[in-house]
């Protein structure tokens, strides 16, 4: 990893730790906080993968689109072959898009709730702490789990754990 990649990877790893902590304590803190860290983890992890970072905040879908070109990703993430990875990434596509949409810069444009700032911009009337993100994220997590493919969050955890250690970044 170059210095930029390492900086993004280290921050993504910390974002994952915070997300995981909050996710396990679902009833203690408002959900917006774990959503914030989940979005940040995925964006920074994607920006850590590339020698030059992708443009914009919607980087994680770029990463999943390009991962099939890199056979080094398969074993560390527990996939036996490219077909298995492709099935998993297909099962996760809607959820990945929804996580990207949590970035305030994207959510504002698409008139969606975001986990950081009250919305809508300019006439703020809704606070993230009061919003459950049930339809936007949690239902999609459940739907991906029901697909029978490896759980998205388990694979994301493996991505954080192995991207630098194995390594499989570019």
């Amino acid at each position: 990893m170059n210095a930029r990649q390492l900086a993004f990877f280290r921050q993504a790893s910390s974002d994952w730790d915070i997300f995981h902590h909050l996710y396990l304590d679902l009833l203690v803190f408002p959900r917006c906080h774990e959503m914030h860290y989940l979005q940040m983890c995925t964006e920074k992890l994607a920006k850590a993968y590339y020698v030059v970072p992708p443009r914009g905040h919607a980087a994680f879908r770029r990463l999943l689109t390009d991962m099939p070109l890199n056979p080094a990703v398969l074993a560390p993430l527990g996939f036996a072959d490219l077909a298995s990875f492709t099935l998993w990434s297909g099962s996760s596509a809607a959820l990945v898009g929804a996580i990207e949409d949590l970035a305030p810069a994207i959510a504002d444009v698409k008139h969606l709730p975001n986990p950081e700032y009250p919305w809508p911009r300019g006439v703020e009337a809704h606070a993230p702490v009061d919003y459950l993100f049930q339809v936007e994220i949690y239902d999609l997590i459940d739907a991906q789990l029901a697909s029978g493919q490896p759980a998205f969050l388990d694979i994301l955890e493996q991505m954080v754990a192995t991207m630098q250690a194995t390594p499989w970044h570019l």
């Binding site: 030059v52 914009g56 919607a58 879908r61 770029r62 689109t65 390009d66 890199n70 990434s89 810069a105």
Partner: protein, 108 residues
């Protein structure tokens, strides 16, 4: 590597991207000026939302050590940026060109 093989690979890869990412409206193969072992794809992405002024910078999508015969470089741009590029190809990254472009899937 001969151009027919490179074009076939570019078409296959572009179709894979279009299948996976429904936000892509166009994938365009740009062979002009590219090294023989390089596949350049310009991908028009409705979900990109770059910060204003973000330069048009391609990313390399292939690992340094690969069994692939090609290095893959991808330039993600918004539909508005695509319109600007078509009107003024000079804003493309240095060495990139729209000459001899091939559109892969989802229309022109």
């Amino acid at each position: 590597m001969a151009e027919p093989e490179r074009l076939a690979f570019a078409r296959w890869l572009g179709m894979q991207h279009l299948k996976f990412d429904k936000r892509l409206t166009n994938v365009i193969y740009l062979p002009h000026g590219a090294p023989d072992d390089q596949v350049r794809l310009l991908e028009v992405n409705t979900g990109l939302y770059p910060d204003p002024g973000t330069p048009l910078t391609p990313i390399e999508a292939t690992p340094a050590v690969t069994e692939l015969p090609f290095r893959v470089w991808i330039l993600d741009i918004t539909p508005d940026e695509w319109a600007q590029v078509q009107a003024n190809p000079q804003i493309l990254p240095a060495g990139w060109s729209l000459d001899n472009r091939v559109t892969i899937g989802r229309g022109a």
